[in-house]
């Protein structure tokens, strides 16, 4: 079983728990993107808040922002993260609306966009680009990215919970993580028991920063390295929030980079222009004297467009990440 059914049940639960929440999407009244509104459809009382909308490029994002202005907390199910690129004009607007009207910086529009991202469905196309790098550059937008199948529901519950009208927020769900088998029971009432940026595995000799698609390969690589040698144990940090980085988040990232001084950054998509470059630059700025090896980035192997059958090469393998760990440790 994939995580889709628990995610659908969670969405129904989220709607039941807070009547300010509503679900937007082209076909949410007939099952929604990946069937995510199916469980909600079974409850007739939720149907007024399943807002099926015509397919529009920009206005659906603005529409969600307007609903938030009226006091709702929309959850928008997108068919792809690239829908946000098509709607960039409205995404930018939502990020700055409260600010421009003179309100405090911490107040935003509590809209959650849920979007499958990257390789995994064999579609190619989007796998060749780094959608998150574009979105992370939008002021006022919070960008989260889930990385492990067993945590998808917890990420969704936490992302759908807005404190002090934070937002807008994007939750990226890597496609390969969505379709992977879910082998554990998930507690739908459980929020993420940690911050989106957190250490998932402790090690002494290197630090791997990874997110989304690359997170599980990073954990596998760290485990394999440790199994092969006592001298190669790696910390793995999930960078589950990609923007904005506040001072506390930067401090966590810098602390874990400084501890080992040997850094590997792993993410799907192209290396050039990816967010790994931003992290590497931050480490260079903040702790270069603590670094004992060049910062290695392990990304998709392709720098060109990606056909569906080429998707496996669009994200880093555990083997490539393990090689990078060994390289920095042995530097």
């Amino acid at each position: 079983m994939s995580a889709l059914q628990p995610l659908a049940r969670l969405i129904a639960a989220l709607l039941r728990e807070d009547d300010r929440r509503c679900l937007l999407g082209e076909d949410v009244q007939s099952g929604g993107m990946l069937g995510l509104s199916r469980a909600a459809l079974e409850h007739a009382d939720l149907s007024p808040r399943l807002l099926g909308s015509p397919l529009t490029g920009v206005a659906h994002v603005a529409h969600a922002g307007g609903l938030a202005l009226a006091g709702l907390r929309p959850i928008v199910l997108l068919s792809s993260a690239t829908a946000l690129l098509e709607a960039l004009a409205a995404v930018r607007e939502l990020g700055r609306w409260r600010w421009r009207s003179g309100q405090s910086e911490s107040r935003g529009l509590p809209v959650l966009f849920v979007a499958p991202n990257g390789p995994g469905f064999g579609l190619g196309g989007e796998a060749a680009e780094s959608v998150e790098a574009t979105l992370a550059a939008v002021p006022g937008l919070e960008l989260w990215c889930a990385g492990r199948t067993e945590e998808l529901c917890a990420f969704l519950r936490s992302a759908a919970t807005f404190e002090d009208d934070a937002g807008p927020r994007v939750l990226l769900l890597p496609r390969s993580v969505i379709v992977r088998d879910l082998n554990v029971d998930v507690d739908l009432d459980a929020a993420l028991a940690r911050a989106p940026i957190a250490v998932l595995r402790e090690g002494e000799h290197a630090t791997v920063f990874a997110w989304g698609e690359a997170l599980t390969p990073a954990l596998v690589a760290a485990q394999a390295c440790a199994a092969a040698s006592d001298e190669v144990s790696a910390t793995v940090v999930d960078v589950g929030q990609l923007a904005p980085f506040d001072d506390a988040m930067e401090a966590v990232l810098v602390e874990h980079a400084s501890k080992t001084g040997k850094i590997v950054i792993a993410h799907a998509g192209p290396r050039r222009g990816g967010l790994g470059a931003e992290l590497a630059a931050m480490f260079a700025d903040r702790c270069i004297l603590r670094l004992d090896a060049p910062i290695l980035r392990v990304c998709g192997e392709r720098s060109t467009l990606v056909a569906g059958h080429e998707e496996p090469s669009a994200s880093p393998s555990a083997t490539a990440i393990a090689a990078a760990i060994n390289q920095v440790v042995g530097y």
Binding site: C22, P48, R49, L51, G52, S53, P54, T56, G57, V58, A59, H60, V61, A62, H63, A64, G65, G66, L67, A68, L69, A70, G71, L72, A89, A90, R92, E93, R96, W97, W99, R100, S101, G102, Q103
Partner: protein, 308 residues
């Protein structure tokens, strides 16, 4: 009087260019002198603001009928999304002139902290929401806002003001589709500037008549003449009534004539209403002078206040 090329086609006239009131019953109960004073206030505000050398300033002289109708007819609980030529809506809706000036001057002491877009105003308490940076994004925001109000069953209306230039964008058509899909209590108010020879040929590719296009999309729509302040009031009032009673979205196209283009006098909404008042013996030069002096004084005082 001969009809000139300046007269828009397909409009429902209430106060025509000859100064004839087609349906006196339509303005029964309306204090025409008071309404006229508000048009004067909007005009004087525009003239005064034009002298302040504001960044990217665009005059709205000739468009007062829209600002006054919205400022007058929107209920306190209704909301209006404005563009960059609508500060008079703030004036009529009761925004203190000094605050209005601070916002337009982008002063840090303004409620908007100097962050608003040029020509735009914003007030949470008056439910005036400022212009958007992205082309036509305000239209989608307004649809969502109206839709949200309806979901809460609040019986309130939302209006959004924009220029005819936006009506070739995807955002415009998308927003019309969304408003229809959700039966949003929204009034689209389009200010069309199509003075003779004025618009570039590419602007009219989809037809000069925005109301017709909206009607083809299934939207209740009206086209009226911006020089006919009473007709504009009637059309916007009807559209707001639809929103308040849950009848769904509407579009009112107002053909406005920028006074900067030096049109004939009867294309000026202020002058046209003045002629009506004069014909009814309700206008005099002293009345005009006092009205203008009052608003001049009010704005001058505010300018002095924010210049300190």
């Amino acid at each position: 009087m001969q009809t000139t090329a300046w007269e828009p086609e397909g409009v429902e006239a209430l106060l025509d260019s000859k100064g004839t009131l087609a349906d006196p019953a339509a303005v029964s109960g309306l204090d025409l002198r008071s309404y006229y004073k508000k048009l004067i206030a909007a005009r004087v505000l525009d003239i005064k603001l034009g002298r302040l050398e504001l960044p990217m300033w665009a005059s709205a002289a000739g468009e007062e009928a829209v600002s006054v109708a919205l400022g007058e007819l929107l209920a306190a609980e209704d909301t209006v999304f404005v563009g960059n030529r609508d500060p008079a809506i703030g004036l009529i809706r009761g925004m203190p002139v000094a605050e209005l000036l601070r916002q337009l001057l982008a002063q840090p002491s303004a409620q908007t902290r100097g962050r608003g877009l040029p020509g735009s105003i914003h007030s949470d308490s008056l439910r005036i929401f400022g212009a958007s940076e992205g082309l036509g994004v305000n239209l989608g925001l307004a649809v969502g806002h109206a839709h949200g109000q309806a979901l809460f069953g609040r019986g309130r209306a939302t209006a959004v003001v924009f220029g005819e230039g936006l009506t070739t964008t995807g955002s415009f058509h998308e927003s019309v589709a969304l408003a229809q899909a959700h039966d949003a209590p929204l009034v689209f108010v389009c200010k069309s500037q199509i003075w003779p020879e004025g618009a570039p040929p590419e602007a009219g590719l989809l037809g000069d008549n925005v109301a017709d296009r909206a009607r083809a999309a299934g939207l209740w729509s009206r086209r009226c003449d911006g020089a006919d302040a009473l007709g504009v009031r009637r059309s916007i009032g009807a559209a707001l009534h639809r929103a308040h009673t849950g009848a769904g979205p509407s579009l009112v196209e107002v053909v406005v004539t920028p006074l900067l283009r030096d049109p004939p006098a009867e294309r000026d909404p202020v002058e046209r209403l003045r002629r009506l008042l004069d014909s009814r013996g309700e206008w005099s030069q002293p009345f005009q002078d006092v009205t203008e002096a009052e608003i001049h004084g009010q704005i001058d005082k505010a300018i002095a206040e924010v210049s300190q």
